[in-house]
């Protein structure tokens, strides 16, 4: 069998197209496993994994934890708000202390871009980036692309729009890398204030006209407005944003085609997506969540197979 070209998952940027296909292929098998009466395999029973969440998370943390448990790994959970960080400990010290407890892999979410990368250079462990500030969120992009591939068969030539807060979104950046790597055409659509300056250098189309974008695309990934990362007012009001960039039935009806709707969650119902649309058959939001566990099992399994730790 092929193996991954990397020994950490820091971002999609560092992966090859073959890595993505290998992860998807493996995830397909794990998706079958998690639909069995007993959803567990014994592969990682001698592996310890620490989930270090320096930032709030619900589904990513649960999804990683479930994936680890379904691979039979031992799991250690750490949340920043209950930790010694407040007492002044550095990130490297915190992680090294945890590794001293014989932990083999680290899943880290951190508010600072590059935190996972920084750690991978300084500690002797396998690092999986579960979101680093506004930089990358590779496992989310992999599960989004996997869900789209399940729907379309192949992404080559498919038109995918990413709509909303591109500026603050790690999901957007990782998605762009992944979708481009798989041959899809990508358009980002947002108010100009929420578009990064050099976004075109990533090889994507840029639009601020949501109606046109919807006409163009086969699938749309609706991003959440990240109020917690906004230090300024990027748009006049939530209501205005919602009117211009919110996905509603009124916007979808005139299209006369069925586009696939994704959302990485958590949803702000009534802001970027209306309740009817979020709960419609076109939306594959809950498929994304199910696929998330399978994708994370695949990532952890493939990285664990490369671990250089002594065997019992």
């Amino acid at each position: 069998m092929k193996t991954l070209s990397v020994s950490h998952l820091l971002g999609i940027k560092y992966l090859q197209q073959e890595d993505l296909q290998l992860i998807f292929e493996t995830a397909k098998h794990f998706k079958e496993v998690i639909n069995r009466p007993i959803k567990k395999v014994p592969s990682l029973r001698d592996i310890n994994i620490a989930n270090l969440f320096f930032e709030n998370s619900t589904r990513t943390k649960l999804s990683f934890e479930l994936a680890e448990k379904r691979l039979s790994a031992d799991v250690l959970n750490f949340s920043a708000n209950q930790s010694s960080l407040k007492k002044g400990e550095t990130l490297v010290d915190t992680v090294n202390n945890i590794l001293a407890m014989k932990v083999d892999m680290v899943v880290i979410r951190h508010p600072h871009p590059g935190a996972a990368h920084f750690l991978s250079k300084r500690v002797d462990s396998c690092i999986i980036n579960a979101g680093d500030g506004t930089h990358e969120h590779p496992s989310q992009a992999l599960l989004d692309a996997f869900s789209l591939q399940e729907k379309f068969g192949e992404l080559k030539g498919k038109r995918i729009a990413i709509v909303g807060d591109i500026l603050h979104s790690r999901v957007a950046l990782s998605n762009i890398y992944a979708l481009k790597m798989l041959g899809a055409e990508v358009q980002v659509c947002a108010p100009k204030s929420l578009l990064p300056k050099h976004i075109k250098s990533l090889g994507v189309d840029v639009s601020s006209d949501f109606t046109k974008t919807l006409k163009w695309c086969d699938a749309v990934n609706m991003l959440r407005v990240q109020n917690e990362r906004m230090d300024l007012n990027y748009f006049p009001s939530t209501r205005e944003y919602s009117q211009n960039f919110g996905l509603t039935n009124e916007r979808l009806k005139p299209l006369r085609k069925e586009i696939v709707i994704l959302h990485p969650g958590p949803i702000n119902r009534g802001v970027e997506i209306s309740s009817e649309v979020a709960d419609s058959d076109q939306a594959i939001i809950l498929d994304q969540v199910e696929n998330g566990v399978a994708i994370r099992m695949a990532i952890i399994y493939l990285l664990a197979s490369k671990l250089n730790i002594p065997i019992a």
Binding site: T3, F30, P37, K39, V41
Partner: protein, 180 residues
């Protein structure tokens, strides 16, 4: 060196028929039986047996294809991880009489993995093992077949290859000697 033919097409055909009769003798109308081929090569034997059993008038056979990759005991012990194949199990095996089917029984480790893997679909009433070829004296675990095509002797490094008929090619079991 030319590979040695252990079982010819004719011999295999006789064996397959015998295995079918033995299965019918044990499982009657197969109402409580599930035949499970182990991926990748056991499923090819399963297909042949299903064809013969159907010809013998057995209807509504319950079958499945089981991959044991994630249940193997050599994860991180081989240079590269093993490739998984699709598992297709459309029914629970709770309370069923399961027959695991594989082409060659060697160390017994794949069967051990299969015994763990099949449990994820429920607790079977019983599990039996059917193999075409048993490489005797090479077991690492206390596992023996219930239905057996042929027993052969081969050294540790030798390869036993089962080739299934396709077009011009005939069913054959070969022995490839390990060259020092």
């Amino acid at each position: 060196m030319e590979p040695k033919v252990l079982l010819s097409d004719k011999k295999i055909s006789i064996i397959l028929n015998r295995l079918c009769f033995q299965l019918i003798e044990q499982h009657g109308d197969f109402s409580n039986a599930v035949l499970v081929g182990l991926q990748p090569r056991g499923t090819l034997l399963l297909d042949r047996l299903v064809e013969l059993l159907t010809q013998s008038g057995i209807k509504e056979l319950k079958t499945g294809k089981l991959d044991t990759t994630f249940f193997r005991d050599d994860f991180r012990r081989s240079e590269r991880p093993h490739s998984a194949n699709a598992t297709i199990m459309n029914q629970s095996v709770e309370g069923k009489d399961v027959v695991l089917i594989d082409d060659v029984l060697f160390t017994g480790r794949s069967i051990r993995a299969a015994l763990t893997a099949i449990d994820t679909y429920g607790r079977p009433k019983s599990v039996e093992l059917l193999v075409l070829v048993d490489r005797r004296f090479s077991r690492h675990l206390p596992i023996q077949p219930d239905y057996l095509g042929a027993q052969i002797d081969a050294l540790q490094g030798d390869k036993v290859k089962v080739v299934w008929s396709e077009g011009e090619i005939k069913n054959t079991v070969y022995l490839e000697k390990h060259l020092e």
